[in-house]
Symmetry: C2
Subunit: 334 residues, 2 copies
């Protein structure tokens, strides 16, 4: 592998000049520029990222911190992030935090000593203290789905509260007379917002009761267990709003095992709009977030921040969309 020195020698210029044409920084004569470029592809020279990184203290790398990449929601987010990052010349370092603070912490120190340019946070355990720490360490970050109370950082999220209301209203519209809710971890702001959206509407109904809500841990198994529990408490439930699609899938499974007919006896609505919600039979009605677009926007914002582009807006809230499917409404003709 040839170095910038070789190029300089071959082109008969100094390394500074080569560096200039490489980074399009400073003025350089058209002629010499051509000569340098010629030397570059004659030698098949490729600038060394690490050396550059050491000099400028940035490695053109973005870290993606998710609870677990094998969760399809985060996998899609990751795909979006990598797609965008690549087009800007950045690489993605993958971090699975399992929502554990100490893991998260160890990732952060690891990332700092690697000179990552910025961090994309999509975990629920990020503390305000961490945000401030990153800010003072001067390392840009964008947070997905979580709004830290203070600390300057971009936040990309979707309208969880509105979406939840949309879901419950839809179930109501479809004739449900008693709607339960399966919520996610208390620590996840998204989960709480969806719960609040549910309550906002449910509380106006005469059937409302706190015992209509159960924890489903944002995963399939939890969704199954929550349904079992809820139906034991309230055998007359005829509508369920699950805080995410994973739990909705679990709920559907459990309902089918219990011999319930969906959507006839019980209607079900999820949240997220991941592919999973379409592979069951019936398919699951859901509140879809534009997951890919959220990941893409977050990445673009992060890169802008890294490259010093000033942006006025700090908060980005995506609209969600109700996608009606077989779990809440029979198609005509069936």
């Amino acid at each position: 592998m040839s170095t910038i020195r070789d190029v300089a020698k071959l082109a008969g210029v100094s390394v500074a000049t080569v560096s200039r044409v490489l980074n399009k920084s400073g003025y350089v004569n058209k002629e010499t520029e051509r000569a340098v470029k010629e030397a570059i592809d004659l030698l098949q020279y490729v600038p060394n990222t690490v050396a550059r990184g050491l000099a400028i203290k940035r490695m053109e790398t973005i870290a993606l911190v998710v609870p677990d990449i094998s969760n399809p929601f985060f996998a899609e987010l990751g795909r979006a992030a990598e797609d965008i990052a690549r087009t800007y010349g950045y690489s993605i370092i993958l971090c699975n935090s399992d929502n554990e603070m100490d893991k998260e912490q160890s990732y952060i120190t690891m990332l700092k000593k690697r000179y990552v340019d910025g961090i994309l946070f999509a975990t629920s355990t990020l503390r305000t203290a961490d945000v401030n720490m990153m800010n003072s360490a001067n390392i840009p970050l964008v947070v997905l789905d979580r709004a830290p109370r203070e600390g300057t950082c971009y936040v990309v999220r979707s309208k969880n509260y509105d979406g939840a209301r949309l879901a419950v209203q839809h179930l109501l519209d479809e004739g449900c007379k008693k709607i339960a809710h399966i919520y996610g971890p208390q620590a996840a702001p998204t989960a709480m917002e969806r719960l609040q959206g549910y309550e906002a509407i449910a509380k106006e109904q005469n059937w409302y009761s706190p015992s209509l809500m159960a924890d489903g841990g944002f995963n399939i198994k939890g969704g199954m267990e929550a349904v079992a529990q809820l139906l034991e408490r309230h055998p007359d439930i005829d509508g369920i709003f699950a805080g995410n699609d994973l739990m909705a899938v679990g709920a559907l499974k459990q309902l089918q095992r219990m011999g319930k007919s969906i959507p006839d006896q019980i209607k079900l609505c999820g949240f997220d709009g991941i592919e999973l919600s379409q592979i069951t039979e019936p398919e699951i009605t859901t509140i879809a977030q534009p997951i890919y677009n959220m990941g893409a926007l977050a990445t673009r914002l992060l890169i802008k921040k890294i490259e010093g582009v000033q942006i006025e807006e700090q908060n980005y809230e995506f609209d969600v969309e109700l996608i009606v499917r077989g779990s809440t409404r029979r198609e005509r003709g069936s």
Copy 2:
């Protein structure tokens, strides 16, 4: 952030000595070692990976090249890789190749200039030429699921051929009289091996016909289309072996749409053992690969190779396991 110099100064030694205790290389007096360590945590010194990387030409980073991280199979592989890598102090750089050679190529040059220590390849487009190139560039790689004809590199895979036979035999055992096969991309060796496994058994049967095989592209949609096509050609099909679970899910969906009763009229078996196969109703019988373990082993092998540990065995083939579920056998009592 303090540097190795600061530590040296505070401990009253030279940077060389600090480096020695840091890397446990060369002799160093117990006393001075203690002094150095004291200085280190007094200053909260953290060695800089980039500077180290430039000096030794390795960044303690592993690249993971997959077709698409949002495919659950690769997401699980990715999770395994990251888990293992982290325990050894390595980071994972994520690359989505979409099975496109030029993308793959551009990733490779990008990775080289970043001094990645090794590459984990889980894509079907890796050419022998690439393997040789990596070998001559002296960058270790481990290949998942694909066996390049030549070139030295570790290969981790599972018994696709045997697994396919297992699947077909199981369908036969359950009484199927005409079994179709949905296969994946010709370019994917795994897909071809599974197809061969299918043919090996099917050809012995009097119902065998090449028209019983259809391409499903290893994805859900392809699975749906393949089923539609197959059933048009052969309305009397009563068993389907799908080359992966994604296609099996699609197949199930299409079958249900066509009003077929599973497993009564048609029995269905997939391949891979991803979580998806358990969320449908009925759950899908499948040939499970130990995905996480494969990813974990591949990563461990790669790290050993990186760290110069000699290993005799080059090929690792995992056993697969038939997991019987509702798509091929009714539980007693139903």
